[in-house]
Amino acid sequence: MSTVFPGDHIHAQHVNLKLGPGLLQTSSVNSQNASSSVIATRAGALNHSANNSKWWIESNSRRYVPATQELVIGSIIQKVGEGFRVDIGAAHPASLDSLAFEGATKRNKPNLKVGCLVYARVSLAHKDMEPELECFDAQTRKSEGFGELRGGFVVRCSLKMCRDLLDPKHFLLPLLGGRFPLEAAVGVNGRVWVSAKEFKQTIAIARCIEAADPDGGGLDAGEIKIFLNTLDV
């Protein structure tokens, strides 16, 4: 693992090369040296899989840049004709078609108001176009947990923190879930929707996420346990 900066050439070579976040293949045809056609687009730690086929860069930031197949939490900002415009914290609002929901037809559309929260997947993210979202699995046409999020609260955190929360081995959500029942939906755009029975439990989750955020407190499992004991939940 090494640290790279934007513009650095990455010597990634494999017959079936897959590039992850932060890497870009430059399409310079006349480039004689094929190995230098991959460059880094952000600063961070360079990682690759065991067989050198998958490469990606890990870093922390606060501004979300959409990428396809990522799970995001957005809020409806406008109703437009056959769909909605959704704020997902990126530079541009995303568009969500009203037919991209489970069981939606021309007659039976979801009734979402401005200000509603949705859990969705980015279905299209092109650098020259507005991102597009969908609230179902395109193959099965089932909701798979996507759709409107009612009640609860949205915690904002750094992008590294919400990626960590998606890791099943991360300590925070199991630790909190052991104390009281909770629901959570993690978007990789730096928003985490949480819901618990009582206000102080929801507030405790919000404060724990903030305290564990590497961009804020950066506490580890032991310190979070001590912190949680001071919160009286």
Binding site: S75, L149, F153, I203
Partner: protein, 282 residues
């Protein structure tokens, strides 16, 4: 692009939690985030943080010709431009309503309250005065930029020291800091600003030092600028929340207590920093 207003679940949760006197960050209703001050290598370079809100204040002084209508007074100018660095809600160029409010309030708190003795900045009447320039850089916005900026600006004025000057007849000599110790600015009093946020539901009590979400969802603000000697410099009310005299007096009492605390904290930090700068001259 205007920032989208907070979503319905966020709004409902904040209002119902506030009704039970609970705030999202676990503070009490009238509790401030503890300020923290960081001093830079230069005098008059102060970074003030209220939670994740951070403002950097910097002072420099130069000699200029005074304004013809005020030949005995120095000049204090405040530069406060909110760049998109603070938050993506701010746009470069066109000042937002919030920026205009902050700029006007800073002008009232730091300049028109006569915190700084402008006549002491006069070097040679009608010829030469000190021009003190305070630049505020808004580094991060997590709510209540105004109080943070006022605190940063005030502490920077107290922290700054200008070069000593000597006037013999018409001749002005500026001494280097290595020759003569720089002198602090003459400060009459130190006002601090405290902002309370009110919510659309009248039953909800006001909160001190609102966070970004509280600030967005509030229906009105009351900002009180006062010093530790209980002298109110500015009282500003924004938004259409009806308030009685008793309500205002109660807020003033809270602000008085907070001003005393903040004053002691600032004095202690300045003293600490000054002791750390002591250089023995043999």
């Amino acid at each position: 692009m205007r920032p989208p207003s907070p979503s319905i679940p966020e709004k409902e949760f904040l209002f119902s939690a506030l009704k039970e006197s609970q705030r999202i960050d676990g503070r009490l209703l009238l509790e401030m985030r503890a300020p923290s001050l960081t001093f830079g290598p230069d005098l008059g370079w102060v970074e003030c943080a209220l939670g994740k809100t951070r403002v950097l204040a910097q002072i420099d002084a130069k000699m200029v010709k005074p304004l013809p209508e005020r030949p005995f007074e120095g000049i204090l100018t405040i530069h406060s431009e909110i760049s998109p660095m603070a938050s993506s809600d701010y746009e470069p160029g066109r000042p937002s309503d919030e920026e205009v409010t902050i700029t006007r309030m800073l002008d009232k708190v730091l300049k028109r309250s006569d915190a700084l003795d402008k006549e002491s900045l006069c070097i040679l009447a009608g010829q030469r005065v000190w021009h003190i320039r305070l630049t505020l850089h808004f580094l991060a916005d997590a709510g209540n930029l105004l109080d943070c900026a006022c605190l940063a600006g005030m502490v920077a004025l107290k922290h700054f020291r200008r070069p000593d000057v000597e006037v013999i007849g018409d001749e002005v000599t500026v001494h280097r800091p290595t020759e003569r110790a720089p002198v602090p600015l003459a400060i009459h009093h130190t006002p601090f600003c405290f902002t309370f946020a009110f919510f659309p539901d009248i039953a909800t009590q006001p909160v001190l030092d609102p966070s970004q979400l509280e600030q967005r969802l509030s229906a009105g603000f009351v900002s009180i600028a006062l010093n530790a000697q209980k002298e109110i410099c500015v009282l500003q009310k924004l938004g259409g929340v009806p308030l009685g005299t008793d309500d205002i007096l109660r807020l003033v009492e809270v602000a008085v207590a907070k001003a005393k605390e903040t004053h002691e904290f600032v004095e202690a930090r300045l003293r600490e920093d000054w002791l750390g700068r002591k250089v023995e001259v043999r």
